[in-house]
């Protein structure tokens, strides 16, 4: 009985995806479109050919990273909603290394780019953790605002030291081919960053459930007081969690710059952090769940982009659809908390009744 309830609650985010699709379907009706046809098109287009299928994976890669960034911190009951900024810092680190060390051999160059985006993203994130540990700052607000600082730094660097040789647009030069992440399937956009993303998801799982550090993180996340009584220094956990979380988001910068864009354009991919939050909630903050939800969103993006082209719905409708799904996923999180509270309350009342009798 109890475990049945648990499974139902675990599947909660899935219902919310359906609700979100239903809501955006209603809006399609207002636009004079049959939502069933549109959804069928999305499905058909997403899996039409090898290029599109490969693109689903390419689109999912950065979402896996930002989803892990939020989900990992969430396991410690910490809110890192600054993945966008950590992502931009990773982009900057990776594009700088790609531009300045282009003379190095490919393997070495890519390793440097990877490590630099990981470290810079991590350090940027750990600033938040440090401020929380040292000054008891609110990590939610701090991580939110750190994104704006990161955007300002990016604007400065891209209009200044990193601007393209022509000096026309706020973007960098295209990076040398030796800094490109190799493709997994030729003539598609699916690159080896996918393997990295899966490895990192596995690493997140390993850290959380197989290491002493992960034990501390989960203990702090589930009961900060008991963790303190057990001698776990929560402040150290704040810093390490935010480093790891920021490093995950930073790696998205590496795969986007070196795997897809091959340059850095000012303010690109501005939604990747927010989408990561929804994906992490949809995936129950579990690495496997996050990978699957990121793939779902990848498919929606790829199929949706093509479906709107044939169905004369404005392409901006895609944003509405994504928004509906994202909103209902996030709302479902609170509804689920509410249901758990009510269930727990019932249980307590029943227990206390038994005691009186």
């Amino acid at each position: 009985m109890r475990s049945d309830r648990h499974i139902l609650l675990t599947l909660f985010p899935l219902y919310s995806v359906i609700v979100g699709l239903f809501l955006s379907g209603l809006m399609m009706l207002f636009l004079g479109q049959n939502p069933l046809v549109v959804y069928r098109d999305i499905l058909l287009f997403a899996f039409r050919d090898i290029y599109n299928i490969a693109d689903i994976f390419a689109k999912a890669v950065p979402l896996i990273f930002t989803g892990l960034a939020f989900g990992f911190a969430y396991r410690a009951s910490l809110f890192n909603i600054g993945a966008q900024g950590q992502f931009y810092m990773g982009c900057l680190a990776s594009v700088s290394c790609s531009l300045y060390f282009s003379f190095l051999p490919k393997v070495l160059l890519l390793s440097i780019c990877l490590l630099s985006s990981l470290i810079i993203g991590g350090l940027w994130g750990s600033l938040i953790g440090y401020a929380k540990a040292r000054f008891n700052a609110n990590e939610f607000l701090l991580s939110l605002m750190s994104t704006y600082v990161a955007i300002a730094i990016m604007n400065f660097l891209i209009r200044g030291p990193l601007i393209e040789a022509k000096g026309e647009y706020p973007q960098t030069d295209v990076i040398a081919q030796s800094a490109w992440i190799p493709l997994l399937i030729p003539h598609t956009r699916m690159h080896a960053g996918l393997i990295l993303a899966l490895l990192v998801a596995a690493a997140a799982y390993f850290i959380l459930w197989k290491t002493a550090l992960g034990f501390k993180i989960r203990a702090v996340g589930m009961n900060r007081d008991a963790a303190r009584f057990a001698g776990i220094d929560e402040r150290k956990i704040f810093v390490s969690v935010f480093f790891i979380s920021g490093a995950f988001a930073g790696l998205a910068g590496f795969t986007e710059v070196n795997g897809i864009q091959h340059m850095l354009v000012q303010g690109f991919n501005p939604m990747i952090g927010t989408e990561g939050i929804g994906i992490a909630i949809l995936g129950n903050a579990h690495p496997l769940g996050i990978v699957l939800s990121a793939l779902l969103f990848g498919a929606l993006k790829v199929g949706g982009a093509l479906a709107v082209q044939v169905s004369n719905i404005s392409s901006s409708f895609l944003g509405i659809m994504e928004g509906c799904v994202m909103l209902s996923v996030i709302i479902s999180y609170f509804i689920r908390q509410r249901i758990m509270t009510v269930l727990e309350k019932k249980r307590l009342q029943e227990e206390s009744k038994v005691k009186i009798l």
């Binding site: 197989k210 550090l213 034990f215 007081d225 008991a226 009584f229 776990i232 220094d233």
Partner: protein
């Protein structure tokens, strides 16, 4: 009948309030009459503050209704409460420190729809109110430059300015000196004489007996007694609060006062500040020997929590020394103190003792998961953990479906066994046990007692803190009585005089 009804200002019926993990209030009924001082008595966590916060609109009740002057009301915020004439003086003041007295009083009290107000006029009214009730304070003084008792006056004036005729005071004397307390009581008497009502929250018996007309005792979220002051005695009230007759209590085991050796724990002149900044532990001295259970008796809220938290590195020590086997602990981190061999059974196992959503085995190694053999090079050794857990589950007879069942799904007694098994393993020298049997049934309580005695017989020192006096008396080899952060007296078990202990707990010394 009807005249009596007319006398009732506030009536709360069937109030139930749930917080994650606890039922804070369980169908509580409370009536407050006009011109009466009602004392709400109870230990920390009994539900006094929660009940009053509901009346003041800070919490919403999950069940129950509130009537003010006979009408059912819906109090959704302190603003609603104030409109109904209910004011509250909080334990933590709610003043803006960098504003003047008059600015603080005006804040939120502007009734003019255009939002206009006059500082001068308000200042005059404050002076007038102050004169009426003997609460003189300079309206233009900055709050942060006023001493604590004056800040409390400002809080009271704030409520009076808003027309409060029911004043809730949440442990108002906790931060006051005896003289200021007397002045506060004078105010309360004047205020009552003018036909107003006061709800006085406290766990100090002498104060309650001095000021209250009627006393309502709460325990674990329920009303357990109601008596007029004339009929109340300290013993009677203490019994209702603590929930036990201080009758004959038989010893659980032979005393162990022979062969006193080196003390394991030495506490010298310890001073620790509580959350309100006052000295909760005030120049406390205590020694605990190997192979003894040392009980601390006292009404809760007399510094017990602060003492044990300071011992375990969870709260900074202001002054004084703590030595464990000669090693100073004063600046120790919890982690180091654990490694030195000190176990701690906390009062609230759900909040402090267990991570409810972690498994039984994870909770069993909560204080040793990063040490060999449970971890190697930072990697958890699941095999060793499982093996250890299986063995502990068997030797302590912990009833759980599997070692990886979340500890949340165990019964209270089995949850406490998980805590105790872990702490006994940690406590090579000293075991601190705070309310180790709270909320347990008789069987589990007996089991816990046997474990504590076994720990003692194996040569550990046990510091037992409990508000259940019977528990202290039946287990301890020596008993120290704590009152207002000091040990008033330490007595060997065989020399115990029940009356003396009862009076010492109320702070009465020097009786022969």
């Amino acid at each position: 009948m009807s005249t009596e009804d007319r006398d009732i200002v506030v009536e709360m019926t069937g109030i139930t309030k749930y917080f994650p993990g606890v039922l804070a209030l369980d169908k509580v009924n409370l009536r407050i009459k006009k011109g009466e001082v009602l004392a709400l008595l109870g230990e920390n966590g009994a539900g006094k503050s929660t009940l009053m916060r509901i009346l003041y609109g800070m919490y919403r009740p999950d069940e129950g209704q509130i009537r003010v002057n006979g009408r059912i009301v819906n109090i959704e915020s302190p603003r609603d409460a104030m409109k109904l004439g209910i004011g509250m003086i909080h334990q933590h003041f709610t003043l803006v420190p960098v504003h003047s007295v008059v600015e603080n009083v005006i804040l939120g009290a502007i009734t003019d729809p255009r939002g206009s107000f006059s500082i001068e006029k308000t200042a005059k009214e404050i002076k007038k109110l102050g004169d009426t009730y003997g609460l003189e304070v300079d309206p233009f003084a900055m709050v942060n430059q006023l001493p604590v008792e004056m800040q409390q006056r400002v809080e009271i004036l704030k409520a009076l300015y808003r027309g409060a005729n029911v004043l809730i005071m949440d442990e108002p004397t906790a931060v006051l000196t005896p003289q200021s307390t007397e002045m506060l009581f004078n105010f309360i008497r004047d205020f009552r004489k003018a036909g107003n009502s006061v709800i006085f929250i406290s766990h100090k018996l002498n104060e309650v007996l001095e000021i209250a007309d009627r006393i309502v005792v709460l325990r674990s979220g329920r009303v357990v007694g109601e008596i007029p002051r004339e009929k109340a005695t300290e013993q009677e009230l203490a019994r209702m609060m603590v929930g036990h007759e201080l009758g004959e209590i038989k010893l659980k085991a032979e005393n162990n006062t022979s062969g006193k050796k080196e003390p394991i724990l030495c506490i010298e002149n310890l001073k620790v500040r509580g959350n309100l900044g006052h000295l909760a532990v005030d120049a406390l001295n205590l020694e605990i020997f190997a192979g003894e259970i040392h009980g601390i008796a006292g009404v809760s809220g007399n510094g017990q929590d602060e003492l044990t938290e300071a011992l375990y590195g969870l709260r900074p020590v202001s002054e004084g020394n703590i030595f464990l086997n000669g090693t100073p602990l004063t600046k120790g981190k919890t982690r180091n103190i654990i490694d030195l061999g000190v176990g701690y059974i906390p009062a609230d196992r759900h909040k402090e003792g267990l991570v409810l959503d972690m498994s039984v085995e994870e909770n069993l190694v909560l204080k040793g998961f990063d040490l060999s053999p449970f971890s190697r090079k930072g990697i958890l050794q699941e095999g060793s953990i499982r093996q250890y857990a299986t063995q502990v589950i068997e030797s302590y007879a912990i009833k759980t479906p599997t070692p990886d069942t979340p500890v949340r799904y165990l019964s209270g007694g089995n949850q406490q066994k998980v805590v105790i098994a872990r702490e006994i393993a940690v406590a090579r020298f000293l075991l601190i046990a705070v309310q180790p049997t709270r909320g347990l049934d008789i069987g589990s309580t007996e089991y816990v007692h046997q474990i504590l005695l076994k720990a003692r017989n194996e040569g550990r020192g046990v510091l037992l803190i409990s508000t259940e006096l019977s528990e202290i008396l039946s287990l301890s080899d020596r008993i120290s009585v704590i009152y207002r952060g000091r040990i008033l007296k330490t007595i060997d078990r065989q020399d115990v005089d029940m009356d003396e202990i009862g009076l010492l707990m109320m702070g009465v010394t020097g009786r022969q």
